[in-house]
């Protein structure tokens, strides 16, 4: 029920602008339905006229007056009504198609826009796959529902109302007969759908487990082959596979059976209507022509009457998915935005110093990561952060760029709290090089000028040269125009890292945070990256988050963090002399003869 309310709010927000198209679609669908239900009566009337004509012709007394004119007129009306149906339905579908495409387009961009405004926290707490699924399956489900369910739903309701009116207009008795099997049909539908939901759920769980097994085994095939585990692997697979066979058969039966059951019910209903209609025709006061017409008309109605019921039950699953989809997208929409100060102070450089002052911070309430960290950095200094995984090194970086804000204490630049600066200007002043150098689709040049898309080629070249990557780029057949895309991983981790350094150099930030890459880079490439980093650090205030100590031997100050506290602080020599944590770490990482 809560889902329904959330979904309602969501759709209201996005569909509100389309009030008029909706109004006209509803009107047109009404017209179309009216045409569809009225038209068959003209067919009945035509048959009745034809019967009268034949009878008049058969009797010599009336033969002269027998005429087909009324018959022809009736047929003309039949065609006209269907023409009205087709044209109004066409315009309504046309309008709704536009509404669907445009509203889901707005939803998609809205979701992306929201993503750009949200706090980084959300991305850290949700898996990429989960967030991406909102663009793919959730928006897809919403689109499908709007695209198909919307018009089908409106049509079904209109049809139902129209048919009921027409039936009761023509013959109350026959109308009741036509409706007689409805409760049974609804009961069957409800029961089957309930069973299907359970069975399909089980089926999905088992398919998920099977796919998980296949994925794990085949991606670990090297281990299977080198250990000779092929037969074990097949045996494990068979267990999952047979389980899927069992539950999926049930799932397919229960979810597939509703449609033939309801079609069958429609067939049965038609039979009952024919049966009852003919008894009524024989026993009643009706002329043969009128009786025949009544039967023909009601056979038609009986078929049309079941159509909306079948449609509505088949839409049920689709609507369910659209409600869940809307809830999940809406959940993103209701996330808090990053806090941006109104009239934030301008900043484009550092005059004196950056100060981290007694900072406490926690990602999750009650689980504090930093317990009162204080670091002073004078303009132009290089400070290195060292410590084991989970010590809080990366957290400091998150705070300097305001990806997160401190719980207590403050971080200041030249005495002004970071939170008082204009956020965009602050981030332009603070540059980061991340561990995982995410590149974007486009050319290499586009990626280097990512932070300033208007930068000319001369600046791109200069940045690449400083980052020691120019020669490599030039050696590629397309040079700076080489396409970067995530499918073809032609660049090594080291090369990507160097490109990301060039990207940061181009924006010329005054304060630099370098989160050092740890994996997939051999020590020789690492030395190359090191040289590039040294180039960037020149003349800038910088923080280096180091995993390999070699990088930071020249730092003005090394800060050792453990469990969110500073345990040692000083230059390389000073720390070695302390024989503490740093000295031990150093001993472990370096090779000594």
């Amino acid at each position: 029920m809560k889902d329904l309310k959330l979904a309602g709010r969501y759709y209201w927000h996005y569909l509100k602008p389309y009030g008029w198209p909706f109004f006209w679609s509803a009107v047109l669908i009404g017209i179309s339905t009216a045409c569809v239900v009225v038209a068959p009566t003209y067919l009945g009337r035509a048959i009745s006229e034809l019967t009268t004509y034949v009878q008049a012709w058969a009797d010599p007394a009336t033969r002269a007056g027998a005429s087909l004119t009324t018959f022809h007129h009736t047929l003309l009306f039949y065609v006209l009504f269907y023409f009205g149906d087709a044209s109004s339905l066409l315009i309504a579908s046309w309008l709704l198609a536009k509404v669907t495409a445009y509203s889901t387009g707005t939803m998609r961009i809205g979701l992306f826009r929201k993503m750009q405004r949200m706090k980084v926290q959300y991305f850290d707490q949700h898996s990429d796959g989960d967030i991406l699924a909102r663009y793919t399956s959730d928006l897809d489900n919403i689109f499908n529902a709007l695209n198909q369910a919307l018009i089908d739903f409106l049509l079904a309701i209109a049809q139902m109302i129209g048919i009921l009116i027409m039936m009761f207009n023509q013959s109350t008795t026959m109308a009741w007969v036509t409706m007689s099997t409805t409760p049974v049909a609804l009961l069957i539908a409800a029961l089957v759908m309930k069973k299907a939901a359970v069975a399909v759920d089980q089926q999905q769980t088992d398919i998920g487990a099977l796919n998980g097994y296949i994925n794990e085994q085949v991606t670990g095939q090297k281990v299977i082959i080198t250990n000779g585990l092929q037969q074990d692997s097949v045996a494990g697979f068979n267990t999952y596979n047979h389980q899927v066979r069992k539950t999926a058969t049930r799932g397919q039966i229960w979810s597939g059976i509703l449609s033939p059951l309801l079609s069958g019910m429609s067939l049965l209903n038609t039979a009952i209507v024919i049966f009852a209609g003919s008894w009524l025709a024989l026993g009643g006061s009706l002329s043969t022509g009128a009786a025949l017409a009544l039967v023909v008309v009601f056979v038609n109605y009986a078929q049309q009457y079941y159509q909306p019921i079948i449609t509505l039950t088949s839409l049920y699953g689709m609507i369910q998915l659209a409600i869940t989809g809307a809830r999940r997208v809406d959940e993103v929409r209701s996330q808090p935005d990053e806090v941006r100060p109104v009239n934030g102070k301008a900043i484009d450089h550092i005059d004196r110093a950056l100060k981290i002052d007694d900072v406490h911070f926690s990602y999750l309430p009650g689980k504090e990561i930093l317990h009162g960290v204080t670091i002073d950095v004078q303009k132009g200094q290089m400070v290195a952060l060292v410590g084991p995984t989970g010590s809080g090194k990366t957290t400091v970086m998150n705070l300097l760029n305001r990806f997160y804000d401190v719980d207590s204490g403050r971080i200041t630049i030249d005495g002004t709290d970071l939170r008082d600066f204009d956020l965009a200007q602050l981030r332009q002043t603070v540059g980061i090089v991340l561990q995982d150098p995410q590149l974007f689709s486009g050319t290499i040049a586009d990626n280097i000028r990512f932070g300033d898309p208007d930068a000319g080629m001369d600046r791109v070249l200069a940045a690449a040269k400083q980052a020691n990557i120019h020669d490599f780029i030039e050696s590629l057949p397309d040079g700076y125009e080489t396409k970067v895309s995530d499918e073809q991983n032609v660049f090594s981790a080291g090369q990507k890292q160097l490109m990301s350094i060039a990207r940061t150099i181009l924006t010329d930030p005054r304060l630099l945070i370098l989160d050092e890459a740890t994996s997939n880079v051999d020590t020789v490439t690492e030395a190359k990256i090191q040289a590039a980093m040294d180039n960037v650090i020149q003349g800038r205030t910088s923080f280096v988050i180091a995993h390999r100590l070699k990088t930071i031997l020249n730092a003005d100050r090394i800060v050792v963090l453990q469990h969110g506290r500073i345990i040692e602080q000083g230059s390389h020599q000073e720390l070695l002399a302390q024989h503490g944590f740093y000295a031990e770490l150093y001993r472990n990482q370096m090779v000594f003869e």
Partner: protein
């Protein structure tokens, strides 16, 4: 299609019943208008008995129709799942005969997709085929035949309707499939931008590129919106056009009945059934064209499955019982090129390691270290030259002999979900608590395993997510040593261990697995500093061989690597 035949044959009973049930269903659907016609004639003749009798028949027919539909669904489902399950099992079994090179040819993720999505696609198609596809041609031709026998003079009305509908359908669906293709591409573009921004959200924010990225995203998103609008408009025209055509045809035929009614008064009673048949023809054509669109996807899947079956394992092993071999390794002028590559990854590599010794391998990323190790385990065969274990070419060893002799521990140490003990028993079937403890002791894993509440029965989650990097590597080493292999390959398998644990592992290997030849590949010189011999690889060639001391003195490349790792000011005060 040929891929499916043997499976369909196996489940021919289900297939037969499903098909018969469809026949019954189609018969019921088609016969109802006929019976209606009889009833109408009876009404005109005021024949109560005939009305009663035919009325009963109508209801019986409807009930038979329901039964037919239900039976058809049940047996179609059984058939589809039977076929899918067997097909998937056969693919899986076939893939398990593949050599590693074959897996790489397809790529693991690609094979997974073929076993999951593609099989699912085929399953859906089989189910639909036996539910719908047999029904649609039957309905179509049945309705056509019945319509023709009802009013034979009006064949050309039916023909005109069909020509118009088919023409409209062909034109519309052709255009639609091109639009659907475009949609697919645009959806992919939209997702790429979204995914990049998700993963690079910190980059976007720190470079203040939010607005530019929104513009980048809006481009494919707006194009997608426009293409979906066009598809929607096409559909909007299509359906009303179909129905209008059918109804004009009905009106036309009724008009013709008017002109012929004096000669054929029975036509009046036939109008109703004739119009029903026209409706069913229309239904068959519309559904048929939809199914064609979907069927094309299933055919693509079948092609992809067939590719897997057609691919024969590229490596064969000598037959014969498993027998022990000695642990010495010899590379004799080995050159190796990865399938699809132009330049060889290993060039003329020769060396020998006596049994029980430790060999270290160093070199830059891409110098061929891992490739060399993979040839020992015969994941690939060399282009030329020989790899010998215990003096025997690995190509002449039975598979089991080779697997028993060589244990390969990878950097990304894959454990399978289950328990620790299950993972260990995969390598040594009868592993006891004592032998597991011994192996874990060697790998320095006993300490943390035995602190877990369930010790060796502790669960291992998917991707071993419940263990840290160092723990995963120690578990993998435990698995590597439990069966006392003749040769143990550690491919950067201690990268996440600190220096102290790494040293302990190596000491334990020396002490407890004396006869085992150990091959250690490492980035860190500290990992191989104690090796009996070290190979230095550069660009696929052996450019140095010797002990650490020798190489530091003589080998320029080794010196360069060493330089990047050497302590700044020599030995520390202990």
């Amino acid at each position: 299609m040929k891929v499916l035949l043997p499976y369909l044959k196996k489940y021919r009973k289900d297939a037969l019943i499903a098909t018969l049930a469809v026949l019954v269903l189609v018969f019921a659907t088609l016969w109802q208008p006929r019976l209606l016609q009889t009833v109408m004639t009876a009404i005109m003749a005021k024949d109560r008995a005939a009305v009663w009798q035919n009325g009963i028949w109508l209801i019986v027919l409807a009930v038979i129709g329901i039964a037919g539909g239900v039976v058809n669904t049940v047996y179609s489902a059984r058939l589809a799942l039977g076929v899918a399950t067997d097909l998937r099992a056969d693919i899986y079994r076939h893939v398990q005969t593949f050599a590693y090179a074959d897996i790489e040819t397809f790529s693991a993720s690609n094979l997974v997709v073929r076993m999951t999505n593609d099989v699912q696609q085929i399953q859906g198609a089989v189910m639909a085929a036996f539910q719908q596809v047999t029904r649609i041609p039957l309905l179509f031709f049945g309705a056509l035949a019945l319509a023709l026998t009802t009013m034979p003079q009006q064949w050309w009305v039916i023909l005109a309707m069909l020509v118009i509908i088919v023409l409209v359908a062909v034109v519309a669906f052709r255009q639609m499939s091109s639009l659907f293709g475009q949609t697919q591409q645009l959806i992919e573009n939209v997702n790429t931008v979204a995914r990049e921004n998700l993963m690079g959200i910190r980059v976007v924010k720190s470079f203040v590129q939010e607005d530019n990225q929104i513009k980048t995203f809006a481009k494919p998103s707006d194009e997608l919106r426009d293409v979906t609008t066009r598809i929607g408009e096409l559909f909007a025209v299509l359906m009303p056009a179909f129905f209008l055509t059918a109804n004009v045809a009905i009106a036309g035929s009724v008009y013709l009945v008017g002109t012929q009614v004096l000669a054929h008064p029975a036509y009046i009673a036939a109008v109703s059934s004739f119009t029903s048949y026209l409706g069913q023809i229309l239904f068959a054509v519309i559904n048929g064209s939809f199914i064609m669109t979907f069927a094309s996807r299933a055919f693509i899947s079948m092609g992809r499955v067939r590719e897997v079956f057609d691919h024969q394992p590229s490596m064969h092993f000598a037959q014969g019982p498993a027998k022990p071999v000695r642990g010495d390794i010899t590379f004799d002028h080995v050159t190796f090129t990865y399938p699809g590559d132009e330049t060889p990854t290993l060039k003329d590599v020769s060396f020998t390691v006596p049994a029980g010794q430790m060999l270290g391998i160093v070199g830059a990323t891409g110098s061929g270290k891992t490739t060399l190790a993979q040839l020992i385990a015969r994941l690939f065969d060399p282009d030329s030259g020989r790899v010998l274990i215990g003096g025997v070419d690995v190509r002449d060893l039975p598979e089991q002999t080779l697997r028993d002799a060589v244990a390969f521990v990878l950097q990304r140490s894959t454990l399978f979900s289950g328990t620790i003990a299950q993972n260990l028993r995969q390598v040594q079937k009868e592993a006891t608590a004592a032998s597991m403890h011994r192996a874990a002791e060697i790998a320095q894993a006993a300490e943390f395993i035995e602190r877990l509440p369930e010790t060796y029965d502790a669960p291992v989650e998917e991707r071993s997510a419940n263990f840290s990097g160092g723990q995963k590597q120690r578990l993998a080493i435990t698995r590597g040593v439990i069966a006392d292999p003749e040769i143990l390959i550690l491919d950067d398998a201690t990268s996440a261990l600190d220096a102290k644990s790494e040293k302990l592992v190596q000491e334990a290997l020396d002490r407890d697995l004396k006869h085992t030849t150990t091959v250690v590949i490492a980035e860190k010189i500290s990992s191989i500093i104690r090796a009996d011999a070290i190979l230095v690889l550069d660009g696929g060639r052996v450019v140095g061989e010797g002990t650490h001391q020798e190489l530091v003195r003589e080998n320029a490349i080794y010196q360069e690597i060493y330089q990047t790792q050497k302590a700044k000011e020599g030995r520390l005060p202990a």
